[in-house]
Symmetry: C2
Subunit: 175 residues, 2 copies
């Protein structure tokens, strides 16, 4: 049983909800049809933390300085989101002692998505551009849906040992 | 701005997601039409924590001893769920320094739903009976949907100062 924990921002906890649904036999909402050979997984926790104070108090980390703050909600640019997604993934994995940590955050740009173990760090984006400060809700939610699917795909690649440079996916391996 | 944090089990983080959607102008998924006089709210964090180890590591509390444990997932009876929902609500409020803490958990029975401030503690249930160990997924998700709506309704009563004994609602005031 591989234990997974998430610390999510723009995906609103939906990545963790989907992993839990898979593990408990509930319906999946994002069209994920995992490889039948996928190892068994379980969700330790899915933390949706949009605020700076939440990141500080729950994950116990010093957030990357945000580009802008709206009502305590952190807004990063592309580089900031990628750095912050990695920090969130690592923090939630360590706190929960899970095997895999997942971090997601998106402000201005395509967002950052990180999937990490103690040995491997994968980093990617949602593939959809938006601006949390000005894009219409529909565009923000489109980026979110793509982000959830991309995160689950990246997790599946990691679990199935289909990771760069072998697989040609559009995520970076940082370890 | 009233700051809210949730620690959720059977509602899978959906209560917090809905509060965040309300505060940011995203579409609401559970038919919640809050009173236009509702004070402004913001979501600090929504923590979906189905596991015993997650409760221990993230909320830093000693969980109520569960009736049964399935793959680290805690299963309580009605009394245990109500005690645990209160503990989770209080813990997440304290950790995040939010104004309002919300806790939800449901194993065998109608589940426990707690909405607390430093001064007021409201406790209720989803109103739907199910058994996490044996009920079909459809019944579990029916209890979940009722639980999300009931939690939001209880929160709205608290925010609008419509609380027992004046209001005749079916929740208990414990403070």
């Amino acid at each position: 049983m591989i234990r997974i924990a998430t610390a999510e921002c723009f995906t609103h906890g939906l990545v963790g909800k989907e992993i839990h649904a898979l593990s408990r036999g509930y319906p999946l909402d994002f069209g994920w049809r995992p490889d039948p050979a996928l190892p068994c997984v379980s969700l330790v926790a899915a933390l949706f933390i949009p605020t700076l104070s939440g990141v500080h108090h729950i994950l116990g980390i010093r957030p990357v300085p945000p580009f802008e703050v709206i009502d305590d909600i952190k807004v990063y640019d592309q580089q900031g989101d990628e750095m912050m997604a990695l920090k969130m993934a690592e923090a939630v994995r360590e706190i929960t002692q899970a095997d895999i940590g997942i971090g997601t955050t998106a402000g201005i740009g395509k967002g950052g998505i990180a999937v990490v173990t103690t040995e491997i760090k994968l980093l990617t984006t949602s593939g959809i551009d938006a601006d949390l400060r000005s894009s219409p809700a529909g565009r923000i939610l489109e980026r979110q849906a793509h982000g959830v699917k991309k995160t689950l795909h990246t997790l599946e690649c990691l679990l199935m040992n289909r990771i760069p440079p072998e697989c040609g996916e559009d995520f970076l391996r940082l370890d």
